[in-house]
Amino acid sequence: MIYMTDGSFEGILTAVFEAFRRKECPEKIASQEPCQLTLGTEIREIETDREKSDRVYKAIVEKMSREAIEILYRAYLSEHPDVGTKIYDYIKIGLKIGGRIIYYLQDPDVLWIHDRNQKVLKEVHLFLGILRFRKLRNGIYYARYEPDNNITTLISGHFEERLSNQPWIIHDAGRDIYALYNTNETVFLHEHIPIPKNEADKKFEVLWKGYFQSTAIENRLNPNLQRRFMPRRYWKNLIEKQNN
């Protein structure tokens, strides 16, 4: 039996609710994206239901902890194809052992969720540093990035606080998710909006590149170490790593 959801967090929690209510043990909780099916596998379509997902949400907070639900949510943002199923497994264990679940890393399912959570947190921390804004001619600061995980909602709060007196846009170009901040509040969008290219103010970008070169000590060059902290796949959107 496979449960098919719309891929949202609420959808997954609804599926978990249904699994308990129907006393079924689905082998997978998948999202609607095509997945290879072996012949004869039964599929149940799960319709996302706020009330049902809320009940599961509350049960997790009460029987486990607030931290547990946060861990599950961040693991969910990894968008790993197995994440729905793993969340289900995690909840089953958590309902048995309670709040200690977050420390029960000798269990492979718990560890799996823990690892996803760590990866997401790590990427969030990295992007608080390596997100780069370009100042567009209309005065808006625009940051394009391509994170592995769906972290825009997790990083925007930091910039809301820090860059509170300038309008900015954070754009996850891979997913076409935008956080738009107008010096008052942040709005999230999930659709393509055109951003004028080649319109950025270059003066300080040139200065930054110059600084970046001069601050390295020539006798200590260490490209391996540099790549370990700042993997190459992220360089595309880093001003200082572009030659021209």
């Binding site: 560890l111 606080e161 200065l207 930054w208 001069s214 006798n219 170490l225 902290f229």
Partner: protein, 419 residues
Amino acid sequence: MELLDKLQILADSAKYDVSCSSSGSSRSNKKGQLGNAAPAGICHSWADDGRCISLLKILFTNCCVYDCKYCVNRVTNDVPRAAFTPEELCEITVEFYRRNYIEGLFLSSAVIKSPDYTMELIITALKKLRQEYKFNGYIHVKSIPGADLRLVYQAGLLADRMSINIELPSLQGLKLLAPQKNAESIIKPMAFVKDQIQGANELTIYRKKQLFIPAGQTTQLIVGATQDSDLTILKLTSELYRRYQLKRVYYSAYVPVNDDSNLPSLNTSPPLLREHRIYQADWLLRFYGFEARELLDEGHANFDTKLDPKCDWALRNLGCFPVEINRAPMEMLMRVPGIGYQMAQRIVRARRVAALSYDDLKKMRVVLKRARYFITCKGVYYGGVNIDSEDLYPVLAAQEDPKNVYGQISMFEMGSFAK
């Protein structure tokens, strides 16, 4: 001179100062103003030498009246000189910050005219930045040796962190290589700053919060410019933490920039491995409950290059091992070679849910390469060799991490300590 040239000259002369971290402060944003200081440090980039770039690390000017032998900027060197105006400095800082290039400013300076004159210039720039540009981001300021304490105090009210660099780990070194500086001009402000920090904390209790370098003070020691042993350095370090409550001591492998008979020759490569070992030891002092005298003594005054300091300690204290993973207290687990703070915590928490077997540890991804020789799991020893130093030394020395590239200990790891 073009702004870009100035920036490059003044970044180039500032880069040997190694303290890059921006952690430990929290300055919150006020409506309509720019910036805040995050309690856990954030790296914004990594330079080609693999070091984290967090702060705009820059000199106000590299014009110097002093003649410290180890320094590129000394008066007798023929190098291009430059100086910012306070406006230029503020503008670059703010514009970089708005684009999220940096976490804040690390401002230092060579000694132009006199220490007081230089310190006043720095204060003017910082005031402008805080008051006119409404900048609430992180500022680390380097105090100029010999400056009046009144000026040190003013700078402290504007900055998040202050460093007073010792540079040379012993008095002899200081006399030989920096004749115009004396120990007093370094130690006195350090003690003064410590008292001010305490004073500010006491005042806070019954008055509106007055910020005096909320992220504390730090210093830097140069490794390998003098003959000083690791023991001398580590003893000094632990005194500094104890007596002056420094937040951090930074170490900088000496990069030869000047030809001088009292210094290592120009073709000596910087002692990176030694710097790395000292950083590891410093870590053990601050977070792992070690004392300097446990790690080194007169008969053993320098770290083994083949073993990290914890392994080295463990081999000299095999009587403490093996420890039972299901019973050893956190402090002892942290003393097991190969088990760090995070893994020790993971173990302590997990064993409360269920007793751990060797297999469980593997599943939890505890790295057992070194640890296995020092632990038992449910009473069973998995090391496979005798627990004595003759058998263990070659095994452990051969394991020195080939990936190890001697960077500072990662910021991400640091972040979890800052909490």
